[in-house]
Structures are given as structure tokens and as C-alpha cells.
């Protein structure tokens, strides 16, 4: 492989891998606290993209119950400059976070209160995902929605540089995705590692019983976790949406599954693991040769299968000792 091609693949892989990472962080946060995989996370991802779209464009195409409704007759207050778009993205992510909180109240808390089998909580979260995805389909139809091409406004054009005799191109949206992901990771790392909220979260993740004895309101921190998880999921949804268009209500399904591969690869419940897993899978996909691109979607799962066999606790996970 030529150097230019290599660089191009690395850059593409880092951009998509960083989105996988922040999406998967949402999964892993919930897993580390509850020990349950929240299957509604993919639906929250989709919702994040649609909320932002609603704020920026305000009307929907020719299907669904919302067709013909124009939220902003005088033009959306969120479109025009990149900063307004960023604001819309943020609001979209916050709403997605609130939906995740709702998911917790509807699907997880009642289960916890009854001490139900964790498998049932999983089925319940699948039920919620089914409800959310089909509600989206009812409301806005199944079309592909593209964010306005000037969503990021007049941010500097795509980067390109000469390597050997070929040109390596990095799209603006890729730079933004990568930068936003880095910033989010830094903020999250700070919140979890350095603040009082983060300390409490870690205590709850370690042992909810002891944490509650120490005066930590476990239910409240579970809600916070779900909000953070939904926020990250919704943000990832908008980022992917701006790069590829929002491809219908089932937009999040593939990401939901790949997110699972990411967190297991990195180590279930491990935050650095989710980041490493996301980047590894993003890079691995970018290096799939063009003639085999149809097999791209299997890369994450093949990696997942291999890692489970070689190192079941994931790359950065802790091995646990079995006791009778």
C-alpha cells in the first residue's frame, strides 16, 4: 500500500472510529452501572439526529404524520452559521439524553424495583427501542434526510495535502467529527475522573449497595448515567447524520450492533476500552480493500468473535475470578 493511501485510510478510520467511540461510551456507561446492555441506545442515536434535523430544517418530506408541518415559517433560528448549527446539535443531544432518562424510568427502574432477571430488562429495553423506532417512522416516514450542505457554514474547506504523487483529502465534516469526539472524551474523562459526581458514579458502578450506605442516591446517579449515555448517543447520531445523511428510522440499528462489538472489544464497562475499541474498529473498517467493501459490516463482528475467544474480558477489561 502506498503511503498516501495508508494515510488516507488512517484519517478516515480515525474520524469514523471516534464516532463509534463516543456512541459506545453511552453503552458502556450504562453497563458499568447496571450490568445491563441497553438495546434502546441505537434508537436514541437515531432520535438525536432527527431532533437536530428538526431544529435546523423544521419540516419533513412527503410521508409520516408530520408532513407539511413547518415549524419555522420565517426560517429556522438554528441555521445559517456553524455556531447555530453547533447549538442545535447540542440541544438535539440534550433531548436525546432526556429520552434516555425516560427509557430508564419506563424499562429499567421498574425491573430493578422488582429485582427481575437482567435478561428481562434487556427484552424490556428492546421493547422500548421498537416503540421509539416505529414512532419515528410514523412521524417522519422512512426517507433519507440530508442535513443542509452548509450545515457547518463557512468553516474552512476540506484539508488536502500532497503525499508522493497523490493527494490525501480530509473532509471538513471528518475534522469536525474527530475534534468534537476528542473534546467530548476529554470532558467526560474529567467529569468521571476528577469531579465529585464522577467519584459518586464510580462508587455506584463499583458496588451500589455500599454506595447507598455511604449516602449516595443510587437512583439519581443511574438517571445521570442514562442522561450522559443518551447525550453521547444523540450527539453521535447528529455527527454521523451530517456525514452520511439520516437514513430512516432504522439508522441506528447498525450502529447499535457495532457499538456492542466496540464495547466488548474494548472490555465491557471500561471507558478507555470503549475509546480504544471504537478506534480499532473504525481503523479496521477503513483498511478493508475497496473490492471487499461489501464485507465491511462484518469486520467489527469478526474482530469481536476473535477477541472473545482469545481474550474474553476485552482489550482493556479486567478478568474476574469465578467463585462457587
Amino acid at each position: 500500500m502506498e503511503l498516501s493511501q495508508f494515510l488516507q485510510n488512517v484519517l478516515n478510520g480515525l474520524a469514523i472510529g471516534s464516532v463509534y467511540a463516543i456512541f459506545a461510551l453511552g453503552y458502556t456507561l450504562v453497563f458499568s452501572i447496571l450490568g445491563i446492555i441497553n438495546f434502546a441506545h441505537g434508537a436514541v442515536f437515531t432520535l438525536g439526529a432527527y431532533f437536530t434535523y428538526t431544529l435546523v430544517v423544521g419540516q419533513f418530506e412527503n410521508n409520516g404524520l408530520l408532513k407539511g408541518i413547518n415549524l419555522f415559517p420565517d426560517g429556522s433560528p438554528f441555521s445559517g452559521t456553524p455556531w447555530l448549527f453547533a447549538l442545535a446539535t447540542l440541544v438535539g443531544a440534550v433531548v436525546a439524553g432526556l429520552v434516555a432518562v425516560l427509557v430508564e424510568r419506563l424499562a429499567f427502574r421498574p425491573m430493578r424495583a422488582r429485582g427481575a432477571d437482567p435478561l428481562l430488562a434487556l427484552v424490556s429495553s428492546l421493547g422500548v427501542a421498537l416503540v421509539l423506532v416505529n414512532l419515528i417512522q410514523l412521524l417522519v416516514g422512512a426517507e433519507i434526510y440530508n442535513f443542509p450542505s452548509d450545515a457547518y457554514g463557512q468553516v474552512q474547506p476540506a484539508l488536502s495535502f500532497q503525499v508522493g504523487d497523490r493527494v490525501v483529502i480530509v473532509r471538513t465534516v471528518q475534522i469536525i467529527i474527530f475534534a468534537v469526539s476528542l473534546v467530548m472524551l476529554a470532558i467526560l474523562g474529567y467529569v468521571i475522573g476528577r469531579t465529585k459526581v464522577g467519584k459518586a458514579l464510580r462508587a455506584v458502578a463499583e458496588n451500589p449497595g455500599t454506595a447507598s450506605l455511604l449516602g449516595i442516591s443510587v437512583d439519581r446517579f443511574i438517571l445521570i448515567t442514562f442522561f450522559l449515555s443518551g447525550f453521547l448517543g444523540g450527539l453521535a447520531g447528529t455527527l454521523v447524520g451530517t456525514a452520511f445523511g439520516v437514513a430512516g428510522p432504522y439508522f441506528g440499528v447498525t450502529y447499535g450492533l457495532k457499538g456492542l462489538a466496540v464495547i466488548v472489544l474494548g472490555g465491557l464497562g471500561s471507558i478507555p476500552g470503549a475509546v480504544v475499541g471504537g478506534l480499532v474498529i473504525g481503523l479496521a473498517e477503513a483498511f478493508v480493500p475497496a473490492q471487499y467493501s461489501a464485507y465491511k459490516d462484518a469486520v467489527a463482528f469478526a474482530l469481536l468473535f476473535v477477541i472473545l475467544l482469545v481474550r474474553p474480558q476485552g482489550l482493556l477489561g479486567r478478568a474476574q475470578i469465578q467463585k462457587v
Partner: protein, 313 residues
């Protein structure tokens, strides 16, 4: 009667088929293994039948065997799925709980992407024009295939439960390490339970390919894994009737809700939420509970933690 079968025959056969798929997940669950691989084996079985029944390469065999071709497809599907079950099962069953579930999801996804791209499976279009089994004229006639298979499976499951093997499965489900310490080799029995489920799903697939007339990569997806898991959990995972009742009911609900038109899938999701909340032992479990109320259980004071992965002992 003919009208009734014409209208509901397809649905009735589909209900039985769903019950069988539920049972294919129930067997590994008997040995405590949460495997979501059933749709993968179901898809493989269907592809085996579809290829044997349509590919020009096998024209000679079809000519000679006539209707005997159909049992041959079941046998081929069972053998291939059994073999695949061992190949996937031996390494995958070193994993526990949610890790095994995720590995089997990965298996199903890899199979899906591969079948979507191979020439022999017809790529994205799949295989169509699969001849009807034994020259059946109506879809309801497939009850003559799926019905006996369901009865046989139920009988087998019941006999299995009473046998030494079934007791070993239960011992492993309740406590694998303790079972191991008592001289029950967990790996052997776990693979056996996994392979029984794989073979059953493969045969159901081989019977379903002519029933559906066409076969493509949509037959084995993550959605199907989840649907089948829901059959078992909603029906009840501790009794052979659970998967059957759950499969039939969850397949029937969207049909019964047809009058709700676009809202029915939303309602279907709500059914899953409400059922997992109010019927934690499944429908069959709840009915049993009425007859023999279980001893009161103390709810755990802390959220239940999913088992960690382990390399066995």
C-alpha cells in the same frame, strides 16, 4: 373449513414455526447458555434446502429422488448445522452470560453479511422459485411438516428433561462450577445443548424455504435473534410449553393488531415492555405459579450484575 384454512392457514403454520424456533433457543437455555444463534442456523438450513432444490448442479439428484429430495434437504441441513454448531459452539461456549449472547450475535451478523455477498446464496436478491414441498397446493398443508416436527420436538424435550443428560443440563444451569465439581463435564453438555438447538433451527429453516418460496439474507438477522429470545422469555423459559406459547402469541399479536395499521409495531414494543414487567416467569410460568405458588422471593437489594466472563476452571 377450506375458507378458514385459506385465510388463516399461513398464519397457523407460521405460529407453529415460531414455536419451533423458540424451542431451538430453549435447548441451550436449559443448560444455562444464552445463545442468540438460532436465526443463523435457521438461515443456513434454509439456504441448504434452497440450493439443493433450485441449483442446476443438483438437477440429477432431484430427478432420481423425486419427493425424497425434501427429507434429504432436512437431513443435509441438520448435518451441516450440527457440524457448524460444534465448530462455533466449542470455542464460543467458553464464554458466559451476556458474552456468549454477544458472540452469537456476531456469528449471526457475519453469516448475514457473507450470505449477502456470495454468488451461491444469490447475493442480496437471494434464492427464489423454490418448489413447494411434496407438490403442496396450499400453504396450510405445511402443517403436515411443521406439526409433526413440533410434536416430535416436544416429546424429545420431555424425554430429555427426564434423562441423565437433561439433569446434567439443569445442574450446569443452576451452578456450572458446582456441577463440574460433582463430575458433570460442563463443556461436553453445553456443546450438546447448543448443537441440539442448532440442528432443530436448521431443520426448521430447511422446511421453511419451500414454505416461503424464497430465501434471502433477511431470514437470519439480529432482529430475528431478538424476536426469538422474546418468544422464550415471554412464554416462559423453564417449561417446554413456554417457547411454543410465546412464539405463537408474539407471532399472532401483530396479525391480531392489524386493525391498528401503522401503530401495531409500536403496540408490539409496548407488549414486550409490559410482559417483561408483569410476567417475569413468562406466561406459562405465571400459569404454573397459579397452580403451585412459588416460595416468596426476597428481591435483591442491589442491581443484579451480569456474570463476568471466565475461562472456566
Amino acid at each position: 373449513m377450506a375458507d378458514f384454512l385459506g385465510q388463516y392457514g399461513f398464519l397457523i403454520v407460521t405460529l407453529v414455526q415460531a414455536g419451533l424456533l423458540g424451542l431451538s433457543l430453549y435447548f441451550p437455555l436449559q443448560a444455562g447458555q444464552l445463545s442468540l444463534a438460532s436465526p443463523g442456523f435457521y438461515a443456513v438450513g434454509g439456504y441448504v434446502a434452497a440450493i439443493l432444490l433450485t441449483n442446476p448442479v443438483f438437477a440429477g439428484v432431484r430427478e432420481t429422488l423425486g419427493n425424497g429430495m425434501f427429507p434429504l434437504t432436512w437431513l443435509a441441513a441438520a448435518l451441516l448445522c450440527g457440524l457448524l454448531g460444534v465448530l462455533v459452539g466449542v470455542p464460543a461456549l467458553r464464554l458466559r452470560g451476556i458474552y456468549l449472547a454477544l458472540a452469537t450475535i456476531a456469528f449471526v451478523e457475519i453469516l448475514r453479511v457473507v450470505s449477502l455477498n456470495l454468488p451461491i446464496t444469490g447475493g442480496a436478491i437471494g434464492i427464489f422459485g423454490i418448489p413447494q414441498a411434496f407438490g403442496f397446493q396450499d400453504r396450510w398443508q405445511y402443517i403436515w411438516l411443521f406439526g409433526p416436527l413440533l410434536l416430535l420436538t416436544l416429546l424429545f424435550a420431555r424425554q430429555l428433561e427426564r434423562s441423565r443428560v437433561g439433569r446434567a443440563f439443569r445442574a450446569i444451569r443452576e451452578d456450572e462450577l458446582a456441577a463440574d465439581a460433582m463430575g458433570v463435564p460442563p463443556t461436553r453438555y453445553k456443546v450438546l445443548a447448543f448443537v441440539i438447538g442448532a440442528v432443530l433451527a436448521g431443520i426448521v429453516g430447511a422446511m421453511s424455504a419451500p414454505f416461503l418460496n424464497t430465501w434471502n439474507a433477511k431470514q437470519g438477522t439480529f432482529d430475528a435473534s431478538i424476536a426469538i429470545l422474546a418468544f422464550v422469555l415471554i412464554g416462559g423459559s423453564r417449561n417446554i410449553w413456554g417457547p411454543v406459547v410465546g412464539g405463537a402469541l408474539l407471532t399472532a399479536i401483530p396479525e391480531l393488531l392489524r386493525f391498528l395499521a401503522d401503530w401495531r409495531l409500536v403496540i408490539n414494543g409496548l407488549v414486550l415492555v409490559v410482559a417483561s414487567l408483569y410476567l417475569p416467569q413468562g406466561i406459562v410460568g405465571a400459569l404454573e405459579g397459579v397452580r403451585h405458588p412459588p416460595p416468596p422471593r426476597r428481591p435483591p437489594s442491589v442491581p443484579v450484575v451480569v456474570e463476568a466472563p471466565g475461562g472456566g476452571s
